[in-house]
């Protein structure tokens, strides 16, 4: 009956809320309790090194181009062997929206997101991180990947000498 349904519908919520009153709240009380985010969480951005301990970044500017809020800037440089690196690398965390597009753009897996989400600072200028702040000593997510073992100029192996790589194409030859 309709009236019975209405009366039931009036008193049922009271029973439910009374039940919830004695349940443990789901709140995580932040400064004391901290949630451990999953490993692929997108928070603080770092620059990683390859397994040999060298910088992975080749200053290709792809991350800077992919960044929707333009918070990454860098200056490219070359060492005496022609290997490119970033002379300076600047990431403004006060602009960063943690979208992770830079990590998707990066060909060398240098720029990566980490689960460390506590970046807040009272001084906004301290949120502009330079290369020294960003560079870490580990490899990040892919511990075996080294860009120069798959591509690029001869830093690890001779040019074109990697296993999954052709030699350089001779532009003067007509052969495919």
């Amino acid at each position: 009956m309709n009236l019975w349904r209405d009366i039931k519908g009036t008193f049922q919520p009271f029973w439910i809320t009374l039940g919830y009153l004695f349940k443990k709240p789901v709140t995580i009380q932040y400064p004391e309790e901290k949630r451990i985010p999953p490993p692929r969480y997108r928070a603080r951005i770092v620059l990683t090194r390859d397994p040999d301990g060298n910088e992975r970044c080749v200053a290709c500017h792809l991350c800077s181009a992919a960044c929707p809020v333009d918070c990454i800037s860098m200056q490219a440089a070359e060492d005496e062997h022609g290997r490119r690196y970033a002379a300076w690398f600047r990431l403004n965390f006060s602009r960063c929206i943690f979208c992770g597009l830079c990590t998707e753009a990066c060909p060398t897996m240098a720029i990566q997101t980490t689960p460390d989400y506590e970046i807040c600072n009272r001084n906004i200028l301290k949120l502009v991180h330079e290369k020294e702040d960003l560079l870490v000593d580990g490899c990040g997510k892919d511990e075996t990947y080294n860009f120069y073992e798959h591509s690029g100029i001869g830093v690890v192996n001779e040019r074109g000498g990697n296993e999954d790589e052709y030699g350089p194409v001779d532009p003067k030859s007509l052969m495919p």
Partner: protein, 331 residues
């Protein structure tokens, strides 16, 4: 003369006690409501300031006092300024007739535990509750804002409609007590409370009183998600605080009224009467907080239909039945 002086002094002491206790209770009811609602929604509620959030009310008061007291452009200034005080005042004044314990015998004097035992106490409370609407209405009108005006008009219509049901729910209580005095109503419930004698009247009373106090199932005058806070949209600082405190004082008044009219006042086994009274008041306050955590807000026309077409006829039928039964019992 000496006797008169002592009587006057006693009244002043009782006034001060009630004032302090009621204001303190109102402040901590806010905290209790926030915490209970939080637990009902599986969160903790305020628990940062002091142990378990116990200093939160003080912090709220400091915040409200130090905020800017903003008066909107082209508002009716004087009406805008006194309206919140009116709300808090009418709520506080209701306590003058509420008896919270049986008369005390001290040094050969009988000290009634009520500030002023009016023989028309019920009507006094009705009068004040019908005046409480003025604070809301004038505040809403003086704000010179459409949302405030809608809130004011809604609260007027709602209060007028539900006051009738409220009055009719109390008629059976007065019929059994044969008096308008609140003390005598409590006395008449010495054997068993009116809740068991008049269950229908109790249900009508609770619904009507929730509508009177604009508590959540009936909070159309301040419905946050349709008219942005209604009558107190334009208020800030301590003037908003006065509206807020008035609302919680009226919650305690409702608790006291329900206790006096239906739950048997201070009567109860084992514990001292005052403790029973406070426990009952807090229980009723908890009921209203519970309802706030559980009930959705009805539509405005549904509210009006319910008030006039369901609650009012039910109240009338209840009065007639109670009268018939009383006449039959008395021969």
């Amino acid at each position: 003369m000496n006797d008169l002086l002592i009587t006057l002094l006693l009244i002043l002491v009782k006034l001060g006690l009630i004032f302090g206790v009621v204001l303190g209770m109102a402040a901590y009811l806010v905290l209790a409501e926030r915490k209970i609602l939080g637990r009902m929604q599986l969160r903790y509620g305020p628990n940062r300031v002091g142990p378990g959030g116990m200093i939160q009310p003080m912090c709220d008061v400091i915040k409200l006092i130090t905020k800017e007291d903003f008066i909107p452009d082209r508002a009716d200034k004087w009406v805008f300024l006194f309206a919140p005080g009116l709300t808090a005042l009418t709520a506080l004044l209701s306590f003058a007739v509420v008896p919270f314990a049986p008369p005390l015998h001290l040094f050969g004097r009988e000290i009634p535990m009520v500030v002023c035992d009016l023989n028309v106490g019920v009507l006094y409370i009705f009068g004040l509750s019908s005046l409480a609407v003025y604070g809301v209405v004038l505040g809403g009108w003086a704000s010179n804002s459409k949302y405030s005006l809608i809130g004011a008009v809604r609260s007027m219509a709602q209060l007028i409609s539900y006051e009738l049901a409220l009055g009719l729910a109390l008629v059976p209580v007065i019929m059994t007590a044969k008096s308008f005095s609140l003390t005598e109503i409590v006395m008449s419930q010495a054997d068993w409370p009116n809740l068991l004698r008049h269950p229908l009247a109790f249900i009508i009373f609770m619904i009507a009183v929730a509508a009177e106090s604009k508590r959540t199932p009936f909070d159309m005058p301040e419905a946050e998600n349709e008219i942005v806070g209604g009558f107190h949209t334009e208020y800030s600082g301590m003037r908003f605080g006065l509206f807020f405190v008035g609302e919680y004082i009226s919650l305690i008044v409702i608790g006291a009224m329900t206790t006096v009219f239906f739950l048997g006042g201070w009567h109860g086994p084992f514990l001292p009467p005052v403790v029973w009274f406070v426990m009952k008041v807090l229980f009723v306050a908890f009921l209203f907080i519970w309802a706030r955590g559980s009930m959705p807000r009805p539509r405005y026309d549904q509210l009006m239909h319910f008030g006039w077409k369901v609650l009012l006829p039910l109240g009338l039928v209840n009065v007639v039945i109670t009268g018939a039964v009383l006449v039959a019992l008395n021969g």
